[in-house]
């Protein structure tokens, strides 16, 4: 089974989610796989992909790929697919991956197994698993008789494992000039350079229990102690206490961190849909009947204005050891 993996980089740094997809392909294939790496100034990054399982890396290192365009990046993926004729294409389900995977698939008259949390191969065919209906069910999915199998993998779910030490073969893709009709003219990064919830290993979230926007320092203290990203429930976003980009849940971001700490969040289904697949969930809430305790691994029933600072203190103490 021949794999091709799309490798995403931003500002000269390979995305961890792409290394996760590459490692997964390497494990499923049982041998080194092909990868494609578009961008500007990316050629130097290609050799580093060897240890995550790339046997060959198709590089498109060009000025006109400096900023993302669907047309340019799908074009690079498509060109690599033409050279490699893969049976399967894996792409991390990041913003970029979600943008280009469906376009690439439709171009090849196939669909996408989207945002998988599990993937295996049976007789050369993908069998994947993905949460549906707000995480209240999970669907086992496959690609029917599709000639080309395309899947996207949820970030933070599959391990990025070093496997092979060898340098991959690097091939330069010859692409025509790219004149996209839709193109990124600017990227506005949040000033604080904060870690985004969708990429974080640890998330600390606040809900209505914080009582008001003036109390975010309470949550941020624990967030900093854990080196975590900040999240929020829909209630506080809708109340205008914090921007939507922090919202975890059905109409916010769907996350699967290693550790999710919910502070003063009751656990409405809309929120559980966004974080229910976290590996370990900690609930800090004064209401013992709150639904969040039904999904939590550990919980403390108590006033978060007392418990949260104590947890931050205890984390700092342990980390200082």
């Amino acid at each position: 089974m021949k794999f091709l993996v799309f490798i995403e980089q931003r500002e000269g740094k390979i995305r961890k989610a792409s290394l996760e997809a590459l490692s997964l392909a390497r494990r499923l294939a049982g041998e080194p796989v092909a990868a494609v790496l578009p961008g500007k100034g990316v050629a130097a990054l290609a050799s580093g992909l060897g240890k995550y399982g790339a046997g060959v890396v198709y590089v498109a290192d060009r000025e006109d790929l400096a900023l993302y365009s669907t047309k340019g990046y799908v074009g690079a993926l498509d060109a690599a697919a033409k050279k490699e004729s893969p049976d399967a294409v894996l792409i991390a389900a990041t913003s970029m991956g979600k943008d280009l995977a469906p376009r690439f698939a439709a171009r090849h008259d196939v669909s996408v197994l989207a945002d998988l949390m599990d993937l295996r191969v049976e007789n050369g065919r993908f069998v994947g698993s993905r949460p549906v209906y707000s995480g209240k069910a999970r669907a086992e999915v496959d690609c029917g008789n599709a000639a080309l199998q395309v899947a996207t993998t949820r970030p933070n779910v599959f391990p990025a494992q070093a496997a092979d030490a060898a340098d991959p073969l690097v091939e330069t893709l010859d692409l025509p000039a790219i004149t996209p009709r839709a193109r990124v003219v600017k990227v506005e990064t949040s000033e604080s350079k904060e870690l985004d919830v969708s990429e974080a290993d640890i998330i600390v979230s606040g809900g209505r229990g914080i009582k008001g926007p003036e109390n975010w320092p309470l949550i941020k203290d624990l967030q900093e102690a854990l080196g975590a990203a900040l999240g929020a429930s829909r209630a506080v976003v809708d109340a205008g206490w914090i921007d939507h980009q922090y919202q975890v849940g059905q109409t916010g971001k769907v996350v699967s961190p290693t550790l999710y700490v919910a502070c003063g969040i009751s656990g409405a289904i809309q929120h559980l849909a966004g974080m229910g697949t976290s590996k370990v969930i900690v609930a800090l809430n004064k209401d013992p009947e709150a639904p969040i305790f039904k999904v939590a691994t550990y919980g403390i029933v108590g006033d978060i204005f007392q418990t949260v600072p104590e947890v931050a203190k205890a984390v700092r103490a342990v980390k200082a050891e």
Binding site: V132, A137, R183, V187, Q250, Q270, T297, E310
Partner: protein
């Protein structure tokens, strides 16, 4: 300016999910259906563009069984001018490519400046159909749009990505997918609800559109099984009489038992 808005009619997120007798689809009895929330942002933005320009039509389209017409009627009540229902018959699961091909066929029948989609359909959460339609119609697309400025023959869209916004310029016509934050959707007025009853809903049959994937045997993705998630282990509750001691115990468990910090 003319807009085409694709809407999905989906189970309300509060609905209790039960698995159907075939073990691979939803038990559809007792489900409350709603217009997928992201599609509401898409419709609202299309209506605002039309109102700002003072001209144009907004056509809503939905692929699904008969109930999809109820969703379309809601959109007409909010201000959409026309609707088209693509009757999917008995099919329980239509893959994204089949849905995209059906919507692309409907969109080809008109002339549109904007083709709007929600950034995902709530329930399947695949985020596939919008960009697929763009590819099938050979149009540019911008996904996850949280802000839009309409210029002369072009747009500038703010697209939400991880920890940043991409500012994207595109020519028209363009396919856009709406993200939360784009606007606050309006409610239907009583006048709108009354007026919607008189607006036409055109009907097409999926089976007549010549889409191979509409036949489950040719689907490019399939659901093999649908199951309830395994229950999580019961929560370990730490007594909170002494917050400092409880916090220490929690951190010990996270470090020694769960090994996550």
């Amino acid at each position: 300016m003319n807009s085409f808005v694709a809407v999905a009619y989906v189970p309300d997120t509060e609905t209790r999910i039960r698995i159907g007798p075939d073990g691979k689809s939803l038990d559809e009895s007792d489900i409350k259906w709603v217009v997928s929330p992201y599609d509401e942002y898409a419709l609202e933005e299309a209506l605002r563009i039309k109102e700002a320009k003072g001209a144009g039509t907004v056509r809503v389209a939905s692929v699904g069984p008969e109930r999809a017409k109820t969703g379309l009627r809601e959109c007409l009540a909010r201000g959409a001018d026309e609707a088209v229902w693509i009757d999917s018959g008995d099919s329980r699961y239509l893959d994204a490519l089949a849905t995209a091909k059906a919507l692309a066929a409907a969109a080809r029948e008109g002339s549109y400046d904007f083709l709007w989609f929600g950034q995902k359909g709530v329930g399947y959460d695949e985020s596939l159909v919008g960009p697929m339609v763009a590819e099938l119609l050979d149009l540019p697309h911008v996904g996850n749009v949280v802000k839009l400025e309409v210029g002369d023959g072009k747009i500038t869209a703010h697209r939400e990505i991880e920890g940043a916004h991409e500012i994207v310029e595109s020519t028209l016509p363009v396919v856009l997918t709406a993200q939360k934050g784009l606007n606050e959707p309006r409610y239907a007025s009583l006048k709108g609800i009354m007026g919607a009853k008189k607006k036409p809903i055109a009907e097409k049959k999926l089976a007549d559109l010549g889409i191979p994937e509409a036949d489950p045997a040719n689907a490019k993705t399939r659901w093999r099984k649908l199951e309830l998630p395994p229950p999580r282990q019961a929560c370990k509750l730490i007594p909170a009489d002494d917050p400092a001691a409880a916090a220490k115990e929690l951190v010990r468990l996270l470090r020694e038992e769960a090994k996550v910090i």
